[in-house]
């Protein structure tokens, strides 16, 4: 019985030999002429600009997590549905609890605004449009000015 695993051992030994044999052989045969250009980033012949490590929106990560909610749900729901008739009422209630927990998570995300691509735009619903914003700012400034003038004149008096 244990001897059957000898085949696995032979496979491991052969694969290690294959990998290291190839590496050593190419190390012997290959020419080696290192240069700065060879180790620089390939950008289709352009001189590389900037870093390859860029920052991107953390929201992608949140979306991936949201996906996991549905993925796990489906993963468990399918086998459950196949054997549903044999399992009966207990399984049904168990699944209700499970889906309920996931739904709770989804509701939490919804409430937090993570389902919107641009997060938290809800509070900006009544905000003025950019053109209006400029005008209102001007008005605000002129109001401030007049208020200041008023107070100054008040001081003179």
């Amino acid at each position: 019985m244990l001897f059957d695993f000898a085949a696995v051992l032979v496979f491991i030994v052969i694969s290690i030999f294959f990998i290291f044999g190839t590496l050593v052989f190419s190390w012997i045969v290959r020419p080696s002429k290192p240069s700065a250009a060879k180790s620089s980033t390939y950008e289709c012949g352009e001189i590389p600009a900037g870093d390859a490590w860029i920052k991107f929106n953390i929201h992608f990560y949140v979306i991936a997590l949201i996906f996991i909610i549905f993925e796990v749900e489906i993963l468990v729901l399918f086998p459950w549905a196949v054997v549903f008739k044999e399992l009966g009422m207990t399984a049904f209630i168990e699944m209700l609890v499970f889906v309920g927990i996931l739904a709770l998570g989804l509701a939490y995300l919804w409430k937090k605004g993570d389902l919107d691509w641009v997060k938290g735009t809800d509070y900006m619903k009544d905000a003025p449009m950019p053109s209006d914003a400029g005008r209102s700012a001007r008005e605000h400034r002129s109001e401030e000015k007049s208020a200041k003038g008023g107070s100054a004149s008040g001081g003179k008096d």
Binding site: I28, V29, P31, C44, G45, E46
Partner: protein
């Protein structure tokens, strides 16, 4: 310079090693996939089924110079592209070979006399192994150039020079 290059006199072991190394190199020439002008269309045709560059083991057009050992300069090299071509050549790993495809890459072609923007031949910036004349060369001509290059590679040796 590899570990075994220029170390041994020419003898039966070295020539056998030469044979196998050159056999491997000549029959797996992987070109960088980049074309500069109309010759690239002929190069693409060469890669397709009718002319089938795969018969010579050179069908694997690599999108990265790191994995390629053959540069087919297919087309007109403008001065603007020259520095890019040079950089891509520099980024290719050894051993690397260059084929100048078409009159433009060989000498400047129709632009040789009265052009302010065209490089007069690829050999002004990179070492060229094989020149393929034609405007543009037919796929058969490119394959002929490839076979010439394979012949060149088969002649190379790792033995000490001059023995």
């Amino acid at each position: 310079m590899s570990l075994i290059e220029n170390r041994f006199d020419k003898n039966f072991i070295v020539t056998s090693a030469d044979f196998f190394i050159n056999w491997g190199r000549a029959n797996s020439l992987w070109p960088v996939s980049f074309g500069l002008a109309c010759c690239a269309i002929e190069m693409m045709a060469t890669g397709m089924a009718r002319y089938d560059i795969a018969r010579f083991g050179a069908e694997a057009f690599r999108p990265s110079p790191r994995q390629a050992d053959l540069m087919i300069v297919a087309g007109t090299i403008s001065h603007k592209m020259a520095s890019r071509v040079k950089l891509i050549y520099d980024q290719m790993s050894e051993p690397k070979y260059v084929m100048a495809m078409g009159s433009c890459a060989c000498s400047g072609g129709p632009f040789v006399k009265h052009s302010y923007s065209v490089l007069k031949g690829a050999d002004l910036i990179i070492p060229v192994d094989v020149y393929i004349p034609g405007c543009p060369p037919r796929p058969e001509a490119l394959l002929d150039g490839l076979m010439k290059l394979q012949k060149l590679i088969r002649k190379k040796s790792i033995a000490k020079a001059g023995k």
